[in-house]
């Protein structure tokens, strides 16, 4: 029973001080949860603390590999809209000058 940080992690440090088991380490290339130490916060908090503050969707996953913060859950931008926005970003955009 342990959560895992995967490469979507941006190394923001937010999770590290919150872990009741001191299971999180500032490792390279990204933060790391020591699986033998992680209790998924059971007995300490109602929600896993790392996943409750992590700002990046998909960075923390459970034992089955399912993200605790799935796409769209934090930004409010659904995966479909995100793809559309990113496509638009890379398409040539008309320049328009305001006075």
């Amino acid at each position: 029973m342990a959560l895992t940080i995967i490469d979507a992690c941006v190394n923001c440090w937010a999770c590290e001080p919150l872990c009741p088991q001191q299971a999180i380490h500032a490792a390279k290339p990204h933060f790391y949860i020591e699986p033998t130490q992680c209790s998924e916060c059971v007995g300490d908090f109602a929600d896993p603390q790392c996943a409750s503050i992590c700002p990046v969707e998909g960075a923390i996953v459970d034992a089955a590999g399912v993200p605790l913060n799935p796409p769209g859950s934090l930004t409010g931008i659904t995966p479909e809209r995100m793809t559309a926005l990113q496509l638009k970003r890379h398409a040539p955009t008309p320049l328009h000058v305001i006075e």
């Binding site: 937010a14 409750s52 503050i53 930004t75 409010g76 995100m82 328009h96 000058v97």
Partner: protein
């Protein structure tokens, strides 16, 4: 989606909250209570005069954050007090203390140490307070300040007040949870993630409570707001009224900087930043009785030095690790330097920068106000080469006098022969955007090519006042050009017309 050119123009970090009165910083300070004035007097970020003499630094000891703002993507420093798109090296408290002492010994003018990120200092209480605790003990001659989103402020206020803290900056973008919900998607509160309107409600309540508690304890509070067109622009007037009524001594409005490549929510969804004109209008609208911070640059979280120059490269970790600072000795030398600065500041100024020009030259009463950009490396002088200027100080000259209205960041025009190639045209285009609305550029020196390009763009380059005081130079140029009829009321700025 349409990307506006001015979206990029939002890079000009022009900030500040000014008053309707056209006075110097000395006038502005004169309106404040004595105790406040003493606190601000030596602070380079608050006093226009002090920033010519004193320096500040930031250390990046606080990486974590407890809220999400739509203008942040966590890969870069918090834009609350830093330049967006910049990443600071995170230091441990011990490293930060060592760096601070090393800088304070090397730059005796350094009087203020701030913690402003890269996350929220109060969301990292252990790291932030370990740094403050050591500095309060080891370097009592350094003032401490902190910037926060306010969420954790009421809970840590007792601990905060034990240190040598004089200033706290709270970023308050709204006082209405419905607006807040469009700026903050979630907060981390009491061990849970809370989203939407409820999250904004808690954050706003904590910010206001924190502001009240700080004012009650006599700590200076500055409020920063990020101007987000279409979301909180009109609302910021209300924010300004409320925070000032509660005792914030300064309300500083900063532009949203939203570049698609920063990958923020606003960047992705095409939320634009304000134009220089929109920003200035709002700053004027929410002006109080004082005008300060017009000279503010959004510094990076690990900035070192006088405002506008970053000497961070001289104090990297590997360099300071090797230093052995004798701070007791440094403190004696610092006290001498500060006394000399104060003696100099107390001496009567050779010129009165705000003396109304109209009394000198009644015939220019018909001249309109004009913006001039000045390349200055500090010291209140026109002393920088145009090609070297990273930023321009923007002055307004009118027949009422000369006043500083802001600072705009450009990025160097010339990076030396290696880079002076095809992209120089692009770089110049960027400089022109930064200079939007300015009719004159004053600098110590300028090359033939940029001179011609400026003239072609309708801007008058002037390098005849090298090493003169900025106010005197601006006044002289204004009078000279007014006499030639260039600024007569019915002449419109060529640059504005062609923009």
């Amino acid at each position: 989606m349409t990307i506006t050119v001015l979206n990029q123009g939002g890079k000009t970090a022009l900030t500040g909250c000014a008053a309707s009165s056209c006075g110097s910083s000395a006038d502005a300070l004169a309106q404040l209570p004595e105790a406040l004035r003493a606190k601000i007097n030596n602070h380079p970020c608050f006093s226009e005069d002090a920033h010519h003499h004193y320096a500040r630094m930031h250390v990046a000891v606080a990486p974590a954050c407890n809220i999400q703002c739509h203008y942040c993507n966590r890969k870069y420093d918090c834009s609350n007090e830093s330049r967006p798109g910049v990443v600071s090296e995170v230091l441990t408290p011990d490293q930060a203390v060592k760096k601070t002492l090393a800088v304070a010994a090397a730059i005796p003018q350094m009087t203020v140490l701030g913690i402003a990120g890269p996350g929220d200092p109060l969301a990292n209480p252990a790291r932030t307070f370990a740094t403050f605790r050591q500095l309060t003990a080891k370097a009592p001659d350094i003032k401490l300040c902190v910037s926060t989103n306010g969420l954790a402020l009421p809970e840590v206020i007792d601990e905060l007040c034990q240190h040598n803290i004089e200033h706290v900056t709270i970023t308050i973008n709204c006082v209405d949870p419905d607006i807040g919900a469009q700026i903050y998607p979630w907060i981390f509160w009491n061990h849970r993630r809370i989203k939407g309107r409820k999250a904004a409600e808690i954050l706003i309540a904590q910010q206001q409570k924190g502001l009240e508690l700080l004012v009650a304890r006599g700590i200076l509070v500055k409020v920063n707001s990020v101007l987000i067109p279409g979301i909180n622009d009109e609302h910021l007037k209300e924010v300004s009224r409320i925070v000032k009524a509660k005792g914030a001594f300064l309300h500083n409005v900063m532009p949203l900087i939203s570049e698609p490549e920063h990958g923020t929510f606003y960047g992705l969804t095409g939320q634009r930043g304000p134009t220089s004109a929109e920003l200035q209008t709002l700053q004027d609208a929410c002006a109080g009785d004082m005008r300060m911070m017009r000279h503010c640059r959004q510094c990076r979280a690990d900035a070192v030095g006088m405002l506008g120059e970053d000497r961070g490269q001289e104090f990297t970790l590997d360099k300071i690790e090797q230093l052995d600072v004798d701070y007791a000795a440094a403190m004696v030398q610092r006290a001498q330097v500060h006394a000399a600065i104060e003696a100099k500041r107390a001496a009567p100024a050779p010129i009165t920068p705000t003396a109304p020009l109209v009394t000198l030259n009644p015939q220019f009463r018909t001249s309109r106000p004009v913006l001039m950009a000045v390349a200055s490396g500090g010291g209140g002088l026109v002393n920088q080469h145009f090609g070297e200027a990273n930023e321009f100080l923007i002055y307004e000259a009118s027949n009422r006098g000369v006043r500083l209205v802001g600072a705009r960041t450009a990025g160097r025009y010339c990076h030396g022969p290696a880079q002076c190639d095809d992209s120089s045209a692009q770089r110049f285009a960027k400089i022109l955007r930064v200079l939007a609305g300015c009719e004159v550029v004053l600098c110590a020196k300028i090359g033939y090519e940029p001179w011609q390009q400026l003239e072609a763009a309708g801007i008058i380059p002037n390098s005849e006042h090298a090493l003169e005081s900025i106010e005197t130079a601006v006044a002289a140029v204004y009078q000279e050009l007014s006499a030639s009829g260039r600024f007569s009321v019915d002449s419109v700025a060529t640059q504005r017309r062609s923009a």
